[in-house]
Amino acid sequence: MNGDEASAEGALAAGCGFFAGYPITPATEVAERMSNRLPEIGGVFIQMEDEIASMAALLGASWGGVKAMTSTSGPGFSLMMENIGLGMMTETPCVVVNIQRAGPSTGLPTLVGQADVMQCRWGSHGDYGVIALAPGSAQEMFDLTIEAFNLSETYRQPVFIMSDEIVGHMFEKVVIPPADHIRLVPRRKPTTEPWACIPFQAEDGLVPPMACAGEGFRVHVTGLTHDEMGYPHIVPPTQERLVRRLVDKIRLNARDIIRLESHFLEDAETVVVAYGCVARSARESVQRARSKGLKVGILRLITLWPFPTALIRELSKTVRTFVVPEINYGQMAYEVERCAGDRAQTVLVGMMGGTMHTPTAILEVIEEFSR
């Protein structure tokens, strides 16, 4: 199956019971697969009037106690941003799959891009922490969609799958394990009586349990700055506490969330940092460079956000050059540069979108900076 379909299957394996979306290339196959499969398991698929409505419906379904997902691509992702912010502020678990194409605006609808990775980090207004995963194969579309549901339940917020057109449309073998081999994180419920429940008080310090509709807790949920009871409380100290917690629940748990894949880092003088489809080319170019005797390693970002700041900072003490190939004009390269500082140079191998880097193109840059 292709990556889009694998993502839909991953959602079903994770227990997703609701999908709301709006057709957009190259994400449509996720919705189509869901429209086919959800009714079989008693779930609901609805094609909404636009992406704004889709995102709002997702939040509503999630507060109804159902695991919910949507899929989209760049322009639709832009439209979802306001309600993604509501999801962050109200701590509503759900999964948003973005099969990236090239932009800005309508850009290249059927061709690949990776230029939404910063929008995903900063797209909605205000401060909040972000979790975003970047699959590199159809299998990972399956596996990481399950992981995205688990992370969204653990940290109670929308989680992004930042895939791309090539991964979304590539056909590969996908192994679907038996249901009892799949680890699922259930939604954590308040253990107190409804009258004693303080719905936005985090017992473990950062993530409160979630009292959904119809469960007797009668919770007020608002996008306004709210106190632990969930009531609007528009004063600086409440804002300070709330936003700090929303950001910190990701920032302080970054080590547990971050997933990476690396090869040949031990003695690397040059490290290629890549994600999504480009990481496949990058892996090939690194192998070719190694066979030529160059000390090159690869770091594949599986979690784009939170960013592995500490690791890049540590590597920059021994690495001379970071090579960052990506299908945009420098987004994650800035992040690498921020962490590497003056200790190592960061070289962007940018591409405006439409196609991916060939291994040769990346290899040429590696060779240039390995001399």
């Binding site: 609901v44 609805i46 709002a56 509503g60 309600n83 009668r218 996008g223 009871m229 009531y231 506490r241």
Partner: protein
Amino acid sequence: MSALETFEASCHLSRDTERHGVHPDDEYLKRGRIPHIWCSGCGLGVVLNAFIQALKVREIPPDKAPVVSGIGCSGRAAGYLNLDTYHTTHGRGIPFATGLALARPDLTVTVFSGDGDLFAIGGNHLIHAARRNVDVKVICVNNFNYGMTGGQSAPTTPLESRTSTTPYGNVEYPFNLVGLAGAAGAVYVARWTTFHVRFLVDSISEALAKPGFTFIEVLAPCPTGYNRRNKLGQGLDTMKLYRENSVIQHGIPPQQAELDLRRRIVVGKFVDMEKPTFRREYENLVQQKARKS
């Protein structure tokens, strides 16, 4: 005391337990949330009360009646009701409620919001929810302007009316809300004013019991935002206007339900029909077929 501790000490937890349980409807209001933020003479309290009475008439348990609202004065209604309440983004109450209602068909989901919220920024969502016939009850409080942001023009502002963004008079034709909701496919459409309290309670209770997309428009005075600029006086003056100019005309096509505050206000129940809901059709048709194949 550290700076953070000082901060924390200054944050109260709004969990007022005093003076609750005195009024028979207190169970329907969240503790410590009253007094509300609405201006004196505003019609929102009347509508909120009518909604509570309707819940009681229908004997819908508070735990089964979530309320969703968008932004603005009407949007704050969600915050006062002791139910599962969701104060969402501007104009997006209906799609949020759509998700909630589809996820939980056992709940009676009401959207309580204003004319600007539901028909300007949210207009597209409203017509599509009506077309699909999702099981959502919409109560739209129409005060002809944007109250919370200071009385700007709305899609309902009458021609030539003055608002803070139409200082020389409004030149845009207003929507006929009941006409629009009816045309889009709502199975229940009514219009009342805050003067018609008993009719309103009956109407809301009928809508609560009716499966599908129902729409009730309630005209409400806005002394601070709209009345002041249009020389309509206080809330009470508007109520007199409602009493003098309202005509009850049940069953007329909603497109023909006239609305001219100073001349003729047609109120009544215009649409009340049977149509399967989205969720029922989805279960009967799609899920059954999917399971067979």
